[in-house]
Amino acid sequence: MDKSEKNLETPDWLNSPDFQKQKIIKEIDRLHRASTRGLWALSLFLLVSLFAWWGFSILPDPDAVTAVLGKAPSSRLVSIVLIIYTFSAITLSLARMTSGIEHRSSFSHVGFLTAFFLFYFFDRALYDNYWAVFGAGITILGVESYRIWSFCSEGVVKNKGNLEYITRTGRMPPED
């Protein structure tokens, strides 16, 4: 065995049960923390919704903004895009749930939903369409929260099983 091959070998301490246990405990902690990310995104959306409910009083008047940026897209067009977006986001979330893909963040949806609130606000149609965006947000972020939570819960259960196995046998369980 030459020197370079020797360097590629895994050090013994990396395979030691204690190190593996530490690694699993860290992973369990990470999954516990990640499981609430969906709820954080939902809370942020509720905060944005509250601002929208108050008519975005911190923003300049829609007329002043449209005078600079030009006319906002019509509320009807925004509504069509909102339906397509809601459908796509739910489908994507359910597909991730089916495939078991770890995608921890749903904060991008908060950004998209805020954009819908703003488009309606600048078209002076927020009052008529507020509940549609709110409903879309609750649905998308609700499904996303459930997906993230169930993925992390399954991961925690699996890692706890692995931890128990290492404690009992002193070696890593066989890969799935």
Binding site: S79, L82, I83, I90, M97, N129, T139, G142, Y146
Partner: protein
Amino acid sequence: MFATLAGKALVPVGLAVTGFMVVCCLILYSVIRDDLHRGEIVHATNLADTILKSTRYAMHKSDRETLATILRNVGEQKGVDHVRIFNKKGIVTFSAKSGEINHQVDKKAEGCVVCHKGDIPVTNLGKMEQARTFMNNRGNDVMAITAPIYNEPDCSSAACHFHPAGQKVLGTLDIGLSRQEIERSLTMLRIQMIIFTIMTLVLTIVGVTALLRRNVFLPLHKLRQYVENNPGKNNQVHPPPHLPHDLDTIADSYYNISLQAVRKKDVEKNNEPGHEQ
């Protein structure tokens, strides 16, 4: 509930289907309401045009009595909240309600401010901008249209009483229509949509639950009972019950493994020293 198999199958489906239905219903309701409102404005504008054309001859002849009668008759129609004409100074000159005559209209009031927000009042407005909605003294929703009465060549050159040619607007016709019927229709639509959404939710949840129970939970329960009860007393292995595909493969495999284990045990027992053949 969320961690059970039923919860995992039902929660995302129920949430996604119901949420999407609610969003679609809300947008549809908003679009229908917008369309109805536009239709209402077009109807009120046409009515205002009709009144202006009907009263034109009386205005030319300065026949104030005919003009007042026309407005009174229009005002008595069902669904008409108010109809009045006020002059350039904002003083009501004709009205279906006699108490309003000679009263000053507040230029800062809703509907007036659209044209009077600047120093020089706007004289041309689109159809949608002419409309305003508000609640009257009786607490009913009203949609009103203000149609300007423009100075035309035959007005400024009429022999009886002429207006200066430079005066663009001679006065304004203000007509308000009750929104009770439209509000009633919208309330009915809202109730129908809520019932429709609830029915869809119930159907989805009941449908998915029934299918899951029939195709997954009951066969799983049968398989679990079979595994728990076999091998039974005296090491007897019963053949598996009829199960749907995939589960019957598992049950058959379990049956074969159990049979082999029982046979092996019997052989070992028979080979034990001292065992009677």
